[in-house]
Each structure stands twice: as C-alpha cells, then as structure tokens.
C-alpha cells in the first residue's frame, strides 16, 4: 500500500428505504429525510439522505476496503449534491499517505452521484499488523 493507490469503488443504490432506514438508525427525525411533502416545501424535489448516513456509508467503504482490523481514527466529510431516491452513490478513495511502519494511512474520499460530488472528505486509519503487511 502506497500513496496514490486507489481503493476499489463501492456503489450503493440510493433507495428510499436506505434514506429512511439510515435516518432512523442515526436517530435523525428531520422531516426532509422521510417526508417527501415536507422536503418539497423546503425546496427539494424529494426526500434526501442525511449526513449521518453518508458518514456511515463512507465508514463502511473504508472498513470493507482496508479490512476488519483497520480502525478509524478521524473522519472529516463535507456534503455537496444531495442523494435523492433512485440515484447511485459511487464512493472512491485514494491513499494519500502511509506511515513508515505502514500502520497509519490517510485516505482522500469522494462520493459521486448523478448530480455531482455528494461527499468529499479525508480519513485517518490505523491498520492491524497483518493488514499492514498485505
């Protein structure tokens, strides 16, 4: 693993179920994440994904790509275009730095949907010895 390595893409269909289940699983009851009428009243065409679900999907991407022993230390994300039902979120990541002992890595993240950049961010992770050696 070295800087510049690209992690395999994770593609997640953005279903209405994912949006609502994600909002409730993160205890976020803001109406725009489950009520299409309320979302329209606030200028959106439909319900859209909350930030905590995006964060969960990004963390899923990192854990799946770097192995179950990898531990998330820092995660910073910024939201861009909304995730509406029917879209697909494609999460990508690039290794930006690897420590000398290959235990600590930093990743630049991006999640793209049909409207553009849904999320950008950075993550810091520590790897378990066996994963660091792979």
């Amino acid at each position: 693993m070295k800087p510049g390595d690209e992690l395999p893409v994770l593609s997640v269909p953005v279903t209405r179920t994912l949006i609502v289940a994600g909002a409730l699983a993160t205890r976020d009851f803001t109406d725009v994440h489950h009520d299409p009428e309320a979302a329209r009243a606030k200028g959106a065409p439909d319900v859209f994904m909350n930030i905590l679900t995006t964060q969960g999907l990004v963390s899923r991407f990192l854990t799946e790509r770097l192995g179950p022993g990898a531990r998330l230390r820092k995660l910073s994300i910024r939201l861009g275009t909304p995730n509406y039902p029917g879209d697909t979120l494609h999460v990508t990541g690039t290794i930006t730095s690897v420590s000398d002992d290959e235990r600590a890595v930093e990743i630049a993240l991006m999640g793209i949907n049909s409207l553009g950049r849904h999320v950008t961010g950075t993550a810091s992770m520590t790897l378990s010895p066996q994963e660091a050696g792979s």
């Binding site: 993160t26 995660l75 994300i77």
Partner: protein, 305 residues
C-alpha cells in the same frame, strides 16, 4: 436590522456553550448498533471483540454522533445562548437547516453499556453566505463526547441555517417566445447578433419601431435597418403581479423604453427594484439569453449611484 447588524449579533455567540452537561438518552446498546449496521449494509455488532469481554459489543466509530442525537422528542440540554442564536436566525428568515460538514476524531471505542455525556461549544458563526439552497449562516459546533466520564471522541459539526430559495425558480427558457414573421424577422436576426435594429424609411427618412412593411408617415414600402445606440429612458412601466407568466417570477418590471433615436419599445427592466423605477430614468441595452433565444433588455441606472 441590516445585514451588518445581524452579523455582529451572531458573532457575539462565538465561544459560548451550545450544550452543557448533555447526556445520551440511553447507554450504548446492541440494538441501536444492529439497527445502524443493517441500514448501512455492514455486519452486525460482534460481541466477541478481543479484549472486551463476553456479551459486550463495540460500536462502529462512525456512530459517534448517534449517541447524542435528540431523537423524535426534540432537542434537550441546549443552552439559552444556542436557543437565542437559532431564534435570531429564524427571525431573519433562516428557518431551514441542513448539515454540511462533519469532522470526527475517535479517541476511545464506545462499547455497549457505556454512559455517554457531552458538552458543546459554538465555535463559529459565519457571515451571510449565499448558497444554492438559499442565503444564510453556517454554525459550527465542537462537541466533546465522553464514555463513562472518559473523553471518547471529538465531533465538529457544521450546519447551514438558511432562508430557502424559492421552491421553484422560474427558468427564462420557459418565457413566451417572440412572434416572428417575415415582417419582423430582421429585427430578431439582429438581436441574435446582439444588434438592436430599427427601421428607417428610405423615402422620407422617418425612423420607426415596431417593424412594419411600410412607412406610417409617407406610405413608402422602402426601408433600411439601422442599429440603435441602445441608450434610452423609461417612458412608462408596469410591475406585473398577476397572473403567473411562465419564465417570470412576480413581481417583475416591464418598461416602455424610449430610445435615443426617438422610437419606443417594450422590454424588461433589469438591475433595479420595481419600487425604485421612475419615468425618465436612464437605461442601457443589454442582451440576455432565455433558453435558445437572445432577448434585448434594458438595465436601469439610478441617479446618484
């Protein structure tokens, strides 16, 4: 209150507490972890994490904020300062809220049974910003989250509180199209090339607009097109409120422009609030694009500006 006044009032909240002595509704629990893992599509909580002990599961780090969410029953534990800040923004029309940034640092894993406490500080309130969603202010809070009294994570969260932009922005492409036939096609060809053409009778020299295939003064069918300077004044105007017209957001101003050449034409008045339009106000030609159609419009210039 002016924009500057509001910004000054908002800035005064920086550094003040948003939440003091906050407490998670429940200890970290396996059901909530499972619920989260199922929604995100990851394996459920593993109760056999090495070194944790039987029957104890570790929560995914990204769940950090979940344990301090208010839930359906509403926010509790917010300070008066934070409530005042929100009320101030509400009164300024910033009634909608959307999260934009989240930065988290995970210092200690959270495990089932951990009691969660937290404190939050208003780190910054931005000046007025205009975004695609609407105009408003970013509020950044920094929350320290503890598990059984031990610092477990730092959560920096930024929301935009904003006045929603109109739910349906009129698209200029939907505007009624010009009516074009052989008698006035030359005018619209000129507009496509950003030239404002009027007719001049080659028999008597009279300049005319609207376009016609003959002179109203002498009756001659002979004419040539001449380019107008684009300078003029407001001769009369209307502020349209009703009915809705596709491609326009009411109220909008329509002017009767008297050009320097002495002819008059109907056009949009831009660059001036309808209430500030006055007859005699100087205007200058601009071209705008509505879909695939170029249109001549006139920008008004207020005296002394």
């Amino acid at each position: 209150m002016t924009v500057a006044d509001l910004s000054a009032q908002l800035t005064a909240y920086e550094g003040r507490s948003a939440v003091l002595g906050g407490r998670g509704r429940d200890p970290v629990d396996a059901a909530m972890i499972r619920h989260w893992c199922e929604a995100m599509g990851v394996p459920g909580p593993d109760p056999a994490v090495p070194g944790v002990g039987p029957g104890v599961a570790e929560a995914p780090p990204a769940m950090l904020q979940v344990w301090i969410m208010s839930g359906l029953s509403g926010a509790v534990g917010r300070t008066a300062a934070y409530e005042e800040l929100v009320a101030l923004l509400d009164r300024a029309g910033c009634t909608a809220v959307v999260a934009t940034d989240c930065e988290q640092e995970y210092l200690r894993p959270l495990r089932t049974g951990d009691e969660i406490t937290f404190d939050a500080v208003i780190e910054s309130v931005s000046p007025r910003k205009t975004t695609a969603l609407g105009t408003g202010h970013f509020i950044t809070t920094r929350t320290e989250i503890r598990a059984n009294g031990e610092l477990a994570g730092i959560h920096r969260f930024r929301v935009l509180r904003y006045a929603p932009a109109r739910t349906r922005t009129a698209s200029p492409a939907e505007r009624p199209r010009p009516v074009i036939n052989r008698d006035n096609a030359g005018f619209w060809e000129g507009v496509a090339g950003h030239r404002l053409l009027i007719q001049r009778c080659t028999a008597c020299g009279r300049q005319r607009f609207p376009w016609l295939p003959g002179c109203g003064e002498c009756g001659s069918p002979l004419w040539e097109a001449v380019e107008a300077s684009g300078e003029g004044v407001v001769f009369s105007y209307v502020v349209m409120h009703h009915p809705p017209v596709p491609g326009f957001e009411a109220p909008y101003a329509v002017g009767l422009i008297e050009l320097a050449e002495g002819v008059r034409m109907i056009s949009s008045l831009v660059g001036v609030a309808p209430a500030r339009i006055r007859i005699g106000m100087p205007v200058a030609l601009e071209f705008v694009r509505a879909g695939d159609q170029e249109l001549p419009v006139f920008r008004a210039y207020e005296e002394g500006l």
